[in-house]
Symmetry: C2
Subunit: 248 residues, 2 copies
Amino acid sequence: MTLLEQSLRRRSVRQYSGREVTDELLSSLLEAASHTQTMGNLQLYSVIITRDKAMKQALSPLHFDQPMVIGAPVVLTVCADYNRTTRWCEERKAEPGYDNFLSFLNAAIDALLFTQTFCCLAEEAGLGLCYLGTTVYQPEKIIETLRLPRLVMPLATLTLGWPAEEPPVSDRLPLSAFVHREAYRDYTPSLIDSLYAQKEALPENKHFVELNQKETLAQVFTDIRYTRRDNEQMSEGFLKALRRQGFL
Amino acid sequence: MTLLEQSLRRRSVRQYSGREVTDELLSSLLEAASHTQTMGNLQLYSVIITRDKAMKQALSPLHFDQPMVIGAPVVLTVCADYNRTTRWCEERKAEPGYDNFLSFLNAAIDALLFTQTFCCLAEEAGLGLCYLGTTVYQPEKIIETLRLPRLVMPLATLTLGWPAEEPPVSDRLPLSAFVHREAYRDYTPSLIDSLYAQKEALPENKHFVELNQKETLAQVFTDIRYTRRDNEQMSEGFLKALRRQGFL
């Protein structure tokens, strides 16, 4: 199967079989992913591999007790990392200047591009995975648990294992919803209607609205899943962690 | 060729043949990439396709006149985008709360994961590309040129075309440089020495040090390529653009 075919069938996998994910396989995937483009060839990221049960139990509440953290044979936490490069500079009579926001951003870009190549590679190998966006919600506690030093910020968590379920493929917006030619053309109300019509008409989304006793699908997002209050609180938490780690 | 084999041979391509990149091919790659995992299925990104020569000329200085911008048949600018979702909420009696830093971060993650799936897909199709990290260096001017509205931030630029060169594969640090087990173990001076020995011994890197009249390779990064002064200035510029776009 080509990556194109694989991508069209892509879905998150949250239930894993008891089959082991060997160190050998994991290493070969991480090594191949490390050929992803990176700023100045510096590879501004680190990966923490969690296999230990006690460590999974410590991470689990930091991801709102999503059962994949304990249920997966392997959990990976990918971090933006300017610590290693800074240490290298200090050992080589060079004065590093990477304790600032742009350097966080550069390292975050490296970390996320690496993460996604890894995801594509893991899925090609037949593994199933789930990307946990919760990593950026409570970074300070993850920093403590994984003992991340200054200039290292956790960004992405993957739960990984051999699939024990075959979930359906999620819906996607049409190409015209996110592609612009030459310049951004903003969205009119009628364009919004046509771009979101299919998503809103899906039985599972209609069910989702009913279940949450809301009037529209958008309200499920604004009132329950991603509320202003949570976003503002977690913004403060992330910025505080950025300062603590020396990036702000 | 599998993605694993492709990844091990991966290199950036900066010179492109005159052969056209058809809209049909580009659309099929963008559509497949849109199946990448995304926060709450919201697809918090937009892509601006630049084919117009005048637009390339306008973008070129914003990427420090790297010749790929004008030389490539297609330039893509991938943006973190909470504007479309916000418009949708407004049309659906839902009160969006996405004008904050966490929402920028969530959209940036979506945009970068999407970008990297696209890169893997484009390379599988035989295209060559170069990722321009300069997108985050002068975002305000890119925002103006591409007319990006509030809650849209440019993050990644790709120059794309059929390869007219076969550059060598870049060196990478050993796996043990960026993989940690269970918790982060910080780097001792002797570990730094062993992890960077191969990189520092490469003839091209030794040449690079001589060319720049420096004592160590690390000094080329700290004193010339990524200096404290530039990083601090560009941090201010990026944060200013984040405020302008309503994310801070």
